[in-house]
């Protein structure tokens, strides 16, 4: 029987040295592993060119998210909240590609309760769905979706939602449900992902964000929580003001 020493193979490099890179070991013993600068913090979305959408698609999505979450005097709509940016970055990443999901064939149509059985991931759905949406609008109204009036947009979306309007490819209803879900998730997710700019949705509902310590509040029943929200990137009060 191997008599391995208690010191494991993951002990960080000499205490005098600087930060060590994380070493992935298959065998752990002797002590809890440690490495400095460990962890995988989220990668912030930065403003910039679209990573997934074409200009045309982006216009359609911005218009979509602004009808799904319309602007009002108190809070921005989906577009100003960054929901289109959020969706763009998500589709350009593992979510769009269906990374991590089971994608082996055969793909067979099943019961609704058996869940989606679709080789196409969200990225493909958006490509196809946005094209079909604009094609429908051009045929019916002579313009792409983004250029319709707000009430016309709402009519089109309601029609798709109810099933009275069919889009090419036949998946209009599910596509719209997907856009609703993505837009709303982007609206409520941490701003680090591109949506919920300036924590607008959190301010709207009174959600304090990434706060982690409510011990002094748990017993304060039926009182409004007064502190502003915080996100993974902090809040404006974290900035040191020049005196």
């Amino acid at each position: 029987m191997l008599n391995l020493r208690r010191r494991d193979l993951l002990v960080s490099v000499a205490l005098w040295a600087g930060s060590g890179a994380m070493v992935k070991a298959g065998l752990i013993s002797g002590r809890l592993p440690w490495a400095t600068n460990a962890g995988s913090p989220p990668e912030p979305v930065r403003p910039g060119p679209w990573k997934f959408f074409t200009a045309q698609e982006a216009a359609a999505v911005e218009a979509l998210v602004d009808r799904i979450i319309p602007p009002d005097p108190k809070t921005p709509g989906g577009k100003d909240a960054g929901c289109a940016v959020y969706i763009d970055r998500q589709l350009a990443g593992p979510y769009g590609r269906q990374d991590g999901l089971y994608e082996r064939p055969p793909f067979m149509k099943g019961l609704k309760g058996q869940g989606p059985q679709d080789p196409d991931g969200p990225a493909m759905h958006y490509r196809k769905g946005l094209a079909a949406l604009d094609e429908y609008c051009r045929n019916q109204h002579g313009k792409p979706f983004a250029e319709l009036s707000d009430s016309d947009k709402d009519d089109v979306l309601s029609g798709i939602e109810k099933g009275s309007i069919e889009l090419k490819g036949g998946a209009g209803q599910t596509f719209f449900q997907q856009v609703i879900k993505d837009a709303q998730q982007g609206f409520f997710a941490d701003p680090i992902y591109g949506g919920n700019r300036d924590m607008a949705s959190w301010r709207m509902i009174g959600f304090p964000g990434t706060r982690y310590d409510y011990r002094d509040w748990i017993k304060r029943h039926n009182e409004r929580f007064p502190l502003p929200p915080v996100s993974l990137e902090g809040r404006t009060e974290w900035v040191v003001r020049k005196s």
Partner: protein
Amino acid sequence: MARKLPAKDVVIVGFGWTGAIMAQELTDEGLDVIAIERGPWRDTAMDYPPNYAQDELRYHIRHELFLRPEQTTFTFRNNMSQTALPIRNWGAFMPPNGVGGGGVHWNAETWRFLPSDFVLRTHLTERYGADFLPADMTIQDWGVTYEDLEPHYDAFEYLCGTCGTAGNVNGEIRQGGNPFEGARSRDYPNPAQEQGFGHALFGKAAAEMGYKPFPQPSGNMSRPYTNPLGVRLGPCTYCGYCEWFGCGNYSKASPQTTILPVLIRKSNFMVRDNCEVTRINTDASGKRATGVTFVDTRGEEWEQPADLVILAAYAIFNVQLLLLSKIGKPYDPITGEGVVGRNFTHQVTSGVKGFFDKEKYNFNPFISSGAIGMCIDEFNGDNFDHGPLGFVGGGYIGQVQTNGRPIQTTPVPKDTPAWGAEWKKAVRDNYLSTVLPATHGSFYSYRDIYLDLDPTYTDRLGRPLVRMTIDFHDNELKMSRFLTDKLAEIAQAMGASKVEKSYRKGPYDITTYQTTHLNGGAVMGNDPRTSFLNRYLQSWDVSNLFVTGASAFPQNAGYNPTGTVAALAYWATDAIRTKYLPNPGPLANA
């Protein structure tokens, strides 16, 4: 060709709660133990620190801490006339992955089952007559009693620092606790957590209606705690990022926060992470396990010989490994014979939405923990007379709402449009003034609900996936409807302006979350014809193989399973230490 590693006394497959408990106990016995875990090592500060653990998109929506279906998944159908299709993205349940298993991301709701739960068939038959039970219901007695397990429930609760108010201490009923619980030998190690407004209001309303509400037993610490191993936990800060998330400040009981710091220092213990066990090996007779074969991240095969094999993976994967290793007789639903895959169950949950006047009520739903809440147990198990009701089973009812995370928890009245200005207004108007209490009901076992291997779909190693055949039976839907109606009454009594009920409806579907409490498939009992394990969690067929986890449950009770899963693990290690090791061989007669 698998390369052979030096032999160990014990190999543990899967390193979650029961793997950690078994390893800790058996290393104390002086045995040389190795645990093999399919997923990665996980550590608080390195993997879910309190500066990015609170990311709802990453952990709740994108499932970062869970098993990737790409690595392996199950197929699902409601009944035998259908073709099972793969679960390509999780929905109804969230299988764990990595060291700590479900213990990393669980709510920490830490319940004990009722004494009657362990002798269910005998008890219900005595009270209501055999004809009261549906003919195709296959519930069984467990082979152990609540009294057998009591010291082991106690051991787990003290390991974790479980926070609660005892209801029955050595037969004495205590004010403020659960009067229906089985007698416990002493108080909880820590007082119950503080309750938020909505939780307390539920308790108040329930008490005024004549019920006996009590705080849910919680593995989120109400104060700093040092467990019997000397490991320290911090106080829960009610952050509202509990279940499906790792706890960033050492205040949720998990293998990481209760066992691993001590276990990893022992010279007779080591763990391999990112290694997937592909089969349990047996000798030519098929009656003795010789160890396991596993695959590392490069795809290389290794053999780990051992004298004792503990299968401690998530319940479904226990069953899959037994089937793939050809240990035990696979269950055939047509003949009713065989045991591996038999008596597969889940949990039956439902809820109501209580909408309150937003000018008068502010519940701050984001101030919460995973196991907070006030519950009543009047309608659990056989705590009430089922005679006039026409069903068996029950569950606890409570305002156990864990969060106000906005992607998941922005309740709106049922006719609210799904999008647009009205949707936005409804979200804004109801976020702070809505409660979402729930029922947590039993799921009894049936002849036609079972597990086997899928004939078509395989995992990335080419092995057949487990196939789940499962649907709701009338009994469960009736039971759940009853609980939901009772819950709605309490929500009304809390002062809600409007109460909307969401009954659990059939058919069973794989897309909406219903807890990860999948059980059965390798159940325990006193009869090898209807159980894979004897009362000590030892395989009837292979006496040096023990299988821990909820796969041992012959049916599921109306409670979260982890407390019972852990108690059974302690019970099994006690049997291994005191009975098996002095005299290896079968510990029970058929």
